[in-house]
C-alpha cells in the first residue's frame, strides 16, 4: 500500500525507544566523556530536572519566562493569521494584485527578520509590541502563501456550481473558497506556529529591558554558567514549540476531517 513501508501498530513506541536511547547517550556523555570539572557543559538529565524544575524559585522564574514567550508567540501568530488570511484574500481577487504584492512577500521571507530586531527596538522600543511584531513578520509568509494556494485551487466544477446560481464574490469567498482552503490554511498555520515560537524565543535574546522571556533566560543562564537551568530553559522552549505544533495538528484534523478521506467533492 504505502510503498512497502509498514505502519507500526503502536506508533508511539519507536519515538519512545529513541527517547530512552537519547537519554542514555546523554548520560554517557555526561559521565563517561566529560571529566567532573567539565561536566557543566552537559549536566546529566536528573540534575537538570532537580535544579531547573524542582527548585521552587528557579521553576517560578522559568515558568514566568515561558508564559511571557507563549503570550508573545500566540498573539503574534493570531495577528499573523488575521493579516495573512486577509492579504491572501485580497491577492486572490485579481492577478495584478497578486503580482504586485508577491515580490514584497518574498523579500519579507528572505530578509533575516531576527537580524532586524535591534532596528525594530530602535524604532518602537524593546517592549511587548516589538516582540509581537517580530513574531508576526516571521510567521506571515507561510500563512499568506498557503491560504492563497487554497483559495485558488478550488475545483472549476465547484465554481461552475456557484456561477450557475449567480453567486457574487462574497458568497463565493465565504461559502466556497475559504472552507475549501481550510486544510491549506492549517498547513500554513502549523508552519507559522513553529516560526512564531522561534520569533518569540530568539527575538527575546535582544530584549534586555522588561520581563525576561524564555529566550532572555537562556542567554542569562549561559552568561552565568548556570548550565542546569540553561538546559531546563532550552527543554522548555523546545516543548513549547512541540506543544504548539501538536495542538495545531490536532485542531486541523478536527476542523478538516473531510479532507484526507474526501473524494466526495467531485
Amino acid at each position: 500500500m504505502n510503498g512497502g513501508r509498514t505502519a507500526p501498530r503502536r506508533p508511539w513506541i519507536p519515538p519512545l525507544v529513541l527517547f530512552v536511547v537519547m537519554i542514555g547517550v546523554w548520560y554517557a556523555v555526561s559521565y563517561l566523556l566529560l571529566s567532573p570539572d567539565r561536566r557543566f557543559l552537559l549536566p546529566p538529565p536528573h540534575a537538570v530536572v532537580q535544579v531547573g524544575f524542582l527548585d521552587a524559585a528557579n521553576r517560578a522564574e522559568l515558568l514566568t519566562g515561558l508564559r511571557l514567550s507563549t503570550e508573545v508567540a500566540l498573539i503574534g501568530l493570531a495577528v499573523a493569521t488575521v493579516v495573512g488570511v486577509a492579504l491572501a484574500i485580497v491577492m486572490a481577487q485579481a492577478t495584478w494584485i497578486e503580482r504586485s504584492l508577491h515580490p514584497y512577500l518574498v523579500i519579507l521571507q528572505t530578509i533575516p527578520i531576527l537580524a532586524l530586531v535591534p532596528l525594530f527596538g530602535f524604532w518602537f522600543g524593546f517592549g511587548f509590541f516589538t516582540r509581537v511584531l517580530v513574531c508576526v513578520l516571521i510567521a506571515l509568509f507561510p500563512i499568506v502563501t498557503n491560504t492563497l494556494f487554497g483559495l485558488l485551487s478550488v475545483d472549476q466544477a465547484h465554481h461552475d456550481l456557484f456561477t450557475l446560481q449567480g453567486a457574487g464574490r462574497l458568497a463565493r469567498l465565504w461559502k466556497l473558497q475559504l472552507p475549501a482552503a481550510l486544510p491549506s490554511i492549517f498547513t500554513g498555520l502549523r508552519i507559522s506556529a513553529g516560526l512564531a515560537v522561534i520569533g518569540a524565543v530568539v527575538g527575546d535574546f535582544f530584549f534586555r529591558q522588561g520581563e525576561p522571556g524564555i529566550g532572555a533566560l537562556i542567554d542569562l543562564y549561559r552568561g552565568r554558567l548556570q548550565s542546569e537551568q540553561l538546559f531546563a530553559a532550552v527543554a522548555l522552549a523546545s516543548l513549547l514549540g512541540l506543544a504548539v505544533f501538536l495542538a495545531f495538528g490536532a485542531l486541523s484534523r478536527r476542523v478538516t476531517d473531510w479532507h484526507s478521506t474526501q473524494d466526495g467533492g467531485h
Partner: protein, 250 residues
C-alpha cells in the same frame, strides 16, 4: 444568452457551433428546441461534445457560432460528477442553492427535506459526502438540483458511474419527479436503454465535432411503468438508436 420567450421554448439552439480556444471544434451546426415538459435524451460517442452542449445550455460557456436561447426562470444542472461540498452535510449541501438565492431559512429547509425524501436519503441528512457511496452522492446532487424547482433541468450522465440496479431505480425516481413537475429536461447518457426509457425524444450525436445525426420520438406517455423497458416497441426504438450510433456499416 437571449430569452426565448418569442418561440415559447424552454431552450433553443439555432446553428450553434463551439470551438474551444485551443482550436478543438466540439460542436457544429446544432439546431435543437426543447419545449416545456419535454424530456430529451442526448446520446453520442465519448468526446463528441455532449457536456459542451449542456454547458452552452446553462450559459457556462458561450457559443462561437449561432444562437443559444433560454427561457427558464431557474435552471438545474446535475454535473457528470456529484460536485458536493465535502465540508457540508447532506442537508447543508442540498440547501446550498436556496442559500445562494436568498431563500428564507425555513423555506429552504422545507425544500431540501422534500428533495432529500424524493431521492430516498432522509436517514442520511447529517452525513458528510465522504461517508456516502458514489450512488448516494449522485442522488444528493440530484436532490440539490431539484430544490429550486427548475423549469429546465440539465443532466450530464448523472447515473453513468452507477450499477444497473441503482441506475434503474434512479431512472424510475427521475421519471416520477418529471411526472410530478414536468420541467424541460436535457439528459446526456451513454446508455441507449436509459436514453429511450426516459425521453420523449432521443437525439443522436456524431463523433466530434458533434452534429445531430438523427432524432427518435418515443411514443410512450408518462407515468411510464418500468415494464415499458421490455416492450417490443421499446426494443425497436432502442435498436434503431443503437444502429444509428454505430453509424453506417462499412
Amino acid at each position: 444568452m437571449v430569452l426565448a420567450q418569442t418561440i415559447g421554448a424552454a431552450l433553443s439552439f439555432s446553428g450553434v457551433g463551439k470551438r474551444y480556444g485551443d482550436g478543438t471544434e466540439a460542436l457544429s451546426g446544432i439546431d435543437l428546441t426543447v419545449a416545456p415538459g419535454e424530456f430529451i435524451s442526448v446520446i453520442g460517442p465519448s468526446g463528441c461534445g455532449k457536456s459542451t452542449l449542456l454547458r452552452l445550455a446553462a450559459g457556462l460557456t458561450t457559443a462561437t457560432q449561432g444562437l443559444v436561447e433560454r427561457d427558464a426562470r431557474s435552471v438545474g444542472y446535475v454535473f457528470q460528477d456529484p460536485t458536493l461540498l465535502p465540508w457540508r452535510s447532506v442537508q447543508a449541501n442540498v440547501e446550498l442553492f436556496g442559500e445562494l438565492n436568498g431563500l428564507p431559512k425555513a423555506e429552504r429547509r422545507r425544500r431540501a427535506d422534500e428533495a432529500i425524501a424524493l431521492v430516498g436519503l432522509t436517514e442520511f441528512t447529517r452525513r458528510r459526502p465522504h461517508t456516502l457511496s458514489g450512488g448516494m452522492r449522485m442522488r444528493v446532487s440530484l436532490a440539490r438540483s431539484l430544490t429550486l424547482e427548475p423549469e429546465l433541468l440539465l443532466l450530464d450522465e448523472p447515473f453513468g458511474s452507477l450499477d444497473e440496479i441503482t441506475r434503474e431505480r434512479l431512472n424510475d425516481e427521475l421519471l416520477r419527479m418529471f411526472g410530478a413537475r414536468r420541467f424541460a429536461a436535457l439528459f446526456v447518457t451513454h446508455s441507449v436503454a436509459e436514453a429511450v426509457f426516459l425521453a420523449t425524444r432521443v437525439i443522436v450525436l456524431s463523433p466530434r465535432p458533434g452534429r445531430i445525426l438523427a432524432e427518435f420520438h418515443v411514443p410512450f406517455g408518462y407515468p411510464r411503468p418500468g415494464e415499458a423497458r421490455f416492450s417490443q416497441e421499446f426494443a425497436r426504438i432502442a435498436s434503431q438508436v443503437s444502429a444509428c450510433l454505430r453509424g453506417p456499416l462499412t
